[in-house]
Symmetry: C2
Subunit: 345 residues, 2 copies
């Protein structure tokens, strides 16, 4: 099957015996055009299967109707949901999403940003790879495209003339709530499990954990902090690290849900019963959290709503480039389900 040539404004104008300008006015719904002319033009467009060329229009009008979205890990449901939310809100606002993924590699992130910039998006939404330096990101993005960073802080200071928006979660308060919940159940030996401490979100969550512990008069033992990649698989593999020394913890505040679900898996393999003889909390409230066995007590952050919010913030910035750049921190709340229990007697 041969592909058909694309129909342009010129084709329609020619067929109707009017000028391109008139067709353009019809397209943009101008009241200047005579109703008969409008009708003829619209019929002809339908007949020929005309498709507007937004790139050409954008070029002429010097404006962009795309927004670039760079995700660190699309296979994590948290980020997949976030991306879905971004796309949903952008589409509703008449923008198209240019997708890129970094796979948690700062190198790839640079390359992806460089490529996406060539499409001159109106703004960039970046969920950064674990260790992304502000200076490098600033260098590739330049000073003519607004940037919204989601979830993790960029590392180091950005150049003074490089401002960007930030949308993050109240990680510290969320982890604190989770820890306080475990303390209230009677736990004293509580681990902070999973994540890498060089990521800002992980550090913040650990601070919240430490806040609650110290407020309860407990100094967390170093071996109660176990790092792992923020994935289910890695977390399951690290489960043993919680039990190498006595007295072992009776509960764990996990970096996120993926890690918490992995830990529950790891516990079950070791013959333990999360929610009965060991308490686990997560962070994110991904869809699986509600249906795991047992259902996961976790900190709800509504990733899809965060995606919509990120899109909204980015579009606000497009409309008003001069506004101040105050970071937006989203409050979070603990959702109690079945994976927490008092410590075994």
């Amino acid at each position: 099957m041969a592909l058909r040539r694309k129909v342009t404004l010129n084709d329609i104008a020619g067929a109707c015996g009017v000028s391109r300008a008139t067709v353009s006015l019809v397209l943009r719904g101008s009241p200047l055009v005579h109703a008969d002319t409008r009708q003829r033009v619209e019929d002809e467009m339908r007949r020929q299967g005309y498709v507007y060329n937004r790139a050409a229009a954008g070029l002429r009008r010097r404006e962009s109707s795309s927004i670039a979205l760079v995700i660190n890990d699309l296979s994590n449901p948290f980020f997949a949901e976030f991306a879905a939310g971004v796309d949903e809100a952008l589409a509703a606002a008449g923008y198209v999403t240019l997708l890129g993924s970094s796979g948690e590699s700062a190198e790839r992130q640079q390359a992806v940003l460089g490529t996406l910039l060539e499409y001159h998006p109106a703004a960039i939404i970046l969920s950064p790879a674990e260790v992304s330096e502000a200076s490098r990101v600033a260098r590739v993005i330049g000073r003519s495209t607004p940037l919204l960073v989601f979830n993790r802080r960029l590392v180091g200071d950005a150049p003074t003339d490089f401002a960007y928006d930030f949308l993050g979660l109240d990680n510290r308060a969320g982890a604190r709530q989770a820890t306080e919940h475990l303390l209230a159940l009677g736990h004293r030996r509580i681990a902070f499990f999973g994540g890498h401490l060089d990521s800002s979100s992980c550090r913040e969550r650990r601070l919240g954990y430490q806040d609650a512990m110290r407020e309860a008069g407990i100094e967390p033992e170093p071996q109660w902090t176990v790092e792992s990649a923020p994935t289910r698989l890695e977390a399951a593999a690290q489960t043993g690290a919680l039990f190498v020394r006595d007295p072992a913890p009776t509960a764990a505040v996990c970096y996120n849900d993926a890690v918490a679900l992995g830990l529950m898996q790891g516990l079950i393999r070791r013959g333990r019963h999360p929610g009965h003889d060991f308490a686990v909390t997560g962070f994110d409230d991904i869809p699986e959290a509600a249906v795991s066995a047992p259902p996961l007590t976790t900190v709800g952050v509504e990733p899809r709503a965060r995606g919509r919010q990120a899109a909204t913030l980015a579009l606000q910035r497009v409309r008003d480039p001069g506004a101040a750049h105050a970071p937006v921190i989203v409050p979070v709340r603990l959702i109690e389900r079945g994976s927490t229990c008092p410590p075994p007697a």
Copy 2:
């Protein structure tokens, strides 16, 4: 912070005292340009922070370097992985991914396709909503953009002059393998659980199940087929339907992993032990399948690799629009893990 004006070829040409044409040649790495000139131009580009405008170039060259990707459900890890694979391969080939999602709504899919077409992508990759009519899809896409459909067939016949590529899984063979595995373990009363029979992939998988059953001399009872939305939650809720009549099945071939994991959840809630007193198989091998409790015996389809393959096929079509349109069906294979067992004595 005021955004800076974008730098264009003209700015560079002016600053270097050469013409736009020369700068353009430098950009495209032409050997015609004198080494000194090239150096001066490249330095100036770096100095001014020039960013190529691919949309403008594409307009002039009458070619597109974007591909549209429309996903039915980004919150299903299977499709999220697929999308990640598509994006990975497209980026490697120098294309950008225009993302859209239909949320399993055929209406929204039409709207999303319409919008994305205005960016004149070189091709469209569509993972269609559950019931997508070929004629409607054909109408919105027209005859000048190649289409690759993934995973599900479009419903009804397309107009004769509308050809599209198809990448699908060997659903029938996969479900057959799963069923044969259960038969080999000694099961006779085997259910086909989950999915909607008006989706082509579900119908095909059910045929594979029926093939294996009949070959073993067993006529599947109607009540052994239980439909549900292809999600974990819905499947968990439908678990009871398997046990309303005696003799109840001792095993279930599930439509996909999400459904299988939901069924396992539902079984556990009813006091049963999947992998010990009831056998379950899945389809897809999403990441969770390997780490569920018990790990899920399933049919591996490698969604990320399928994404890369879809991108490759779409790009082939872009290069050679006249080639024949033979559907590509990917062979699949059973991965044995812990969720299957012989029937209880």
